[in-house]
């Protein structure tokens, strides 16, 4: 477990450093995610023995962190509620745009993805 925590923190740290150094808009943790994924995939090809050493720890830590992922958004969500007044008179219109736009986007992407997956199966 502790080993898993260390690896995850280390990759976030590297991600944050890369983000700062190259002044990227992609957040540090996302860069850390990509780097950790790349390392795991590389070790899959060569270095299975090295990977076996920390895979269990990583599995436990990631399951713990991801098990209650929605909880981690509560503090920032409270911030939104407390600062919602910045929208003043536009609140309803903005909420309508967000609601309709999000529902439409989810519907569009899901149907498109499902169609493309279906086509892939028929041809492949």
């Amino acid at each position: 477990m502790l080993q898993g925590v260390f690896i995850i923190f280390l990759f976030q740290l590297i991600g944050e450093m890369v983000q700062k150094y190259f002044a990227l808009t992609v957040p540090g943790p996302v860069i850390g995610l990509v780097l950790l994924l790349l390392m795991l995939l590389l070790l899959d090809k060569r270095g299975a023995a090295v990977k076996a050493r920390f895979e269990q720890g990583l599995a436990t830590t990631s399951a713990t962190l991801l098990g209650h992922l929605p909880l981690l958004f509560v503090p920032i969500g409270v911030g939104v509620v407390m600062h919602i007044s910045v929208l003043e008179g536009h609140l309803l219109a903005v909420l309508a745009v967000i609601f309709l736009g999000t529902v439409a986007s989810i519907g569009f992407s899901a149907l498109l993805m499902q169609k493309l997956q279906g086509m892939g199966k028929r041809h492949g």
Partner: protein
Amino acid sequence: MADQQRLYDIWVYLQAEPLFWLTLTIGAYLLGDLCYRRSGMFPLLNPVALGIIIVSAVLLLFGIQYERYFEGAKFIHFLLGPATVSLAFPIYRKWSLISTNAKAILTTVLLGSVFAILVTYALASLFSLERDIVLSLLPRSVTAPIAMGVSEIIGGIPSLTAIITIVTGIIGAAFGTFTLDLLRVREMSARGFAIGLASHGIGTARAMSRNETAGVFAAVAMGLSGIVTALVVPLIVYLLAV
């Protein structure tokens, strides 16, 4: 009287301690989760939304500044970074499923991200919102740090974008399942992908808590749409001369 004074002293002490705010945050979330389960998983009663409402109600009721609450709650907030990194592990485990769907994933992320931006622009124009609000709305589907960066580049208001982005996530988490059921999308990968694409981390968190495949596809969609949106929004703003 002396008892009341002591209670007040304890309250003053607790307010300054992270423990109180951490307990409140976790408690509110657990209570939200309980209500959600008891209601037979009614989408509007989802644990994040309820947790946020309960904590906000406590803060408003006792006149607590958000900054004071966040002093304590930041320890939970901090875990968002490591949690994001740890998404690498389930993605790695489902890697073969992802690579067999690579074509569908890339096409959907490109068209889906552009659709999200255009539909937002169309709706914002329909409601005749002011230019700086329209610009702040455009990158709303992607994770807050990217959305804020894009907003700044195109001349929006980054702090407004942050709020809009979080609201987008909560709406995606609350209404995504309902929308997908209505459209009869049954494939977990397509369901998760759409939610992650349209409502970033909060949607992904929701998908992950329901089904691992959905969660993994949501995480992949969130990452890729973040990159696509960062590149495409400035281009669309230029082309449409917003």
